[in-house]
Amino acid sequence: MGTTSTERSKKRVHLWKKAICHFLLCFVMGFFTGFAPTGKPPFMTFMSSEVTRYNQSIEIAPRPMVSANSGSNDSSVSNRSLSETSNSTAEEVNSLEESQINNLYPRRQIIVITPTSDKNPLRGVLLNRMANTLKLVPPPLLWIVVESQLESSDVSDILRKTGVMYRHLVFKENFTDHRVEMDYQRNFALKHIEQHRLSGIVHFAALSNVYDLNFFDEIRAIEAFGSWPLAKLSTKRKKMIIEGPVCQSSQVVGWHLKNLNTEVEELGIHISSFGFNSSILWDPERWGRLPAAEATKQNSLKFVKQAVTEDESKVKGVPSEDCSKVNLWQLHLSSKLVLVNHVPDSPDGGPR
């Protein structure tokens, strides 16, 4: 009896030991699985929400990838109720999106600046035509339309219906000289770009411009400065005028000139015939330029023009093969109809 009992108790102790041994083993196993990477540990589920939230909160800083994840997490959290109701569609969407992402190769932003004046009776019509063209340009494109606040709101009315991503800037100043006003408007738009530090290729589009759509693909290739030929058509003249660069390959080596007597001081490329990277406005050091002095700060347009004209070697000819293809036309109409204030020989395409 006694032996059996001791044996039994021994056996029991042994059994307990064995059990505890098992438990410990399991415990250790669990312990180590806990250290495994947070992807697939088996009993991780009840922790993971905390883990992700925690990660999110501390990694607010430098890694865009992480933030992208957290972002999508968040949106799905707030839309939980929706995804529950339409799970199947959401999945379809996902697969659809994935296939879309492949076609979503990023393009460079184009910023088109268009100054307008109610002295141009064709303004509305031409805005419509310009919008039709810009709507066809693959995104991203931002259209900055400037107008004086004194004028009627038909501009915003027209713009609104176009579906183009635009910003409509208004200013209060009054001008008598059309040319000065146009330059002021361009500066006004540049100031907006500078204040917002918008990044992209800036192009000044006069309302009378007509574009081949290739134009916009071409100017996306500009790194710092670019220039291209522009054909001016007029009903009055027998010939048309080409303004813009003369190139060798994509290198600008000279300019088409209106006439020989042009003073060097007056020399300017046509305002619609060059484009530049907007970062020169708000980050000039990046392009090896001193920040604009106070005087030129007021006149960003001058600053940019200077930068373009003083050294052609930095200017890229567009299109890159010899910049000989005309993708941009400008139609000159009668001075009396288009502009009430006759401006003699304005470089921006005023009538002559």
């Binding site: 799905s76 219906k161 000279g254 020399l267 293809k325 005309v326």
Partner: protein, 516 residues
């Protein structure tokens, strides 16, 4: 979130699996219930210890994690972490279930000063930008589906054209409007003098369904003849619509028209024949014409309009026609004349009709329609001559009050003989090749030594090739043979010649910064 639920499922799956394995063991040891019980208990305890081990390790993990990296942003400190909470009072009260901090401090809102979170990567992610644009596109499409025309009909656009200086400019404008129209567009381009490659390459860019046909007469120079020829071209297109039984709304878009996008929505309303107002942009190319334009301004800036006129109850009562009297003396006779190009009684632009009217025959054909073939012989005055009874016209565009398209007839001077090779009176410095609008620039530039834009000794091969290609282009237009030369030579020799014959237009040499 999705990932999370997946994990959960996985874990659940595993758990049930492990239970199932226990069940399997049960089957084997079914004989003694006590043994079964102990085995079950044993298994369960094993499982529990596994869980405990895992949890414990996570606790340790968190402890390490939290001490090494303290949250930097102010807002993150407000996030409650129950497990950190338990660890803080670990030693004394570990045996009590932790009270989540959430319960007591429920609000995350802290009164006082907060940090302004600025991320160090300020530039928009280009891929996200594209995605945003895609969203916008989708939203706009949905708006069209929801509020736009239900069951849209296709649009058949008839455009007479011919190759000339302004063609690219005008036709591109119309083309862009058509490309934007959110409907099926069939574009019938009738070209005077037969189809040309110039026009074909231009309209091919539209990627629309185009039908490019020729008309056997060249475009005349006088405006009145031209109107007549254009009418015949339009009739030819209408016959094509009839013969091919194209279904849709026929629109007459001249290449000098400009359209608002609403135009295309508006014409969908037409049943049989409709008319819209056309804004006439009178353009005078006579620089001496001060008086008239000033007079126009006095009359108000509203543009002259041509189109249907309605009474107060929106019934068609007549037509607004363009008052030509102020321009009578100065109107243009020839294309490119110094004068105003005036519209005639009723322009085709702004006139739309259902294409089925054209191919209905016999009794189906409405009585008020004229026959296309008889018209062709008599000649057509205006689109109204298609109809025997003009009162059937439906006035569109809020009964003509809304102007949705404009008419701007401007042409280059007739003597700019485009596209016959180079343009007249141009200097030799550049020429426009008709088809492609390519400047053929011989590079006669004297290059300042300091500022050489290309190497002194140019890389031979590419430059030779370049000359060849440009020569080829040249040869196509002019059967002038030139021996291939290197660019340098050509430049110096021709440049010299040019400098002697300088005219008004030239190129400026590259400037050095010091020149200023």
């Amino acid at each position: 979130m999705k990932q999370l639920s997946l994990l959960q499922q996985q874990a659940l799956g595993r758990r049930s699996n492990s239970f199932r394995s226990v069940d399997g063991a049960v089957d084997g040891a079914i004989k003694s219930p006590a043994a079964l019980f102990w085995l079950l208990l044993h298994g369960l305890c094993c499982l529990i210890s596994l869980v405990l081990g895992f949890r414990f390790s996570r606790l340790v993990f968190f402890l390490l994690f939290s001490t090494t990296s303290t949250p930097s942003s102010s807002s993150s400190s407000t996030i409650t972490l129950p497990f950190l909470g338990t660890l803080d009072n670990q030693s004394p009260s570990i045996l009590q279930p932790p009270i989540p901090a959430n319960r007591t401090v429920v609000s995350r809102v802290v009164v006082g000063r907060h940090g302004i979170l600025i991320r160090p990567w300020p530039h928009p992610n280009p891929e996200e930008v594209m995605r945003a644009h895609r969203i916008l596109e989708r939203v706009q499409k949905e708006q069209r589906i929801q509020y736009g025309v239900k069951e849209p009909r296709s649009v058949i656009v008839v455009t007479p054209t011919y190759v000339r200086t302004f063609q690219a400019l005008h036709l591109t404008g119309v083309m862009h409007s058509l490309m934007n129209a959110p409907y099926d567009v069939v574009w019938i381009v009738v070209e005077a003098g037969g189809p040309t490659n110039e026009t074909a390459t231009l309209i091919a860019k539209s990627r629309l369904r185009t039908i490019h046909i020729g008309f056997d007469q060249p475009m005349p120079v006088s405006w009145s003849d031209r109107h007549r020829v254009e009418d015949l071209m339009r009739l030819q297109a209408l016959r094509l619509v009839r013969d091919r039984r194209l279904d849709g709304i026929v629109v007459f878009a001249d290449d000098s028209n400009m359209h608002s996008m609403e135009f295309f929505d508006e014409i969908q309303k037409v049943n049989e024949v409709g008319a819209l107002s056309v804004g006439i942009l009178v353009h005078s190319s006579d620089p001496n014409e001060h008086l008239q334009t000033e007079k126009m301004e006095d009359e108000g800036s509203s543009l002259p309009i041509q189109g249907p006129a309605c009474n107060s109850s929106d019934n068609l009562v007549g037509w607004h026609t363009f008052d030509t009297s102020p321009y009578a003396e100065k109107s243009a006779v020839f294309i490119g004349d110094l004068g105003t190009v005036l519209p005639r009684k009723i322009e085709w632009a702004g006139f739309v009709l259902n294409s089925r009217l054209l191919w209905k025959e016999g009794t189906e054909k409405p009585e008020w329609m004229n026959d296309l073939d008889t018209l062709a012989d008599d000649g057509v005055e205006s689109p109204l001559s298609l109809l025997k009874d003009p009162s059937v016209v439906e006035p569109l565009g809020s009964c003509g009050r809304k102007v949705l398209l404009w008419w701007l007839r401007v042409e280059a001077r007739a003597d700019s003989k485009f596209p016959s090779g180079k343009l007249p009176n141009e200097t030799e410095f550049w020429r426009i090749l008709a088809m492609e609008w390519v400047i053929d620039t011989p590079l006669e530039i004297t290059v300042p030594a300091k500022h050489t834009p290309w190497p002194e000794v140019p890389p031979e091969l590419p430059s030779v090739e370049k000359v060849k290609t440009s020569e080829q282009r040249f040869v196509e237009e002019h059967p002038v043979k030139k021996p291939p030369k290197t660019r340098n030579k050509k430049r110096s020799s021709r440049g010299k010649k040019k400098r002697e014959t300088k005219v008004t237009e030239t190129q400026l040499n590259s400037r050095r910064p010091g020149e200023k």
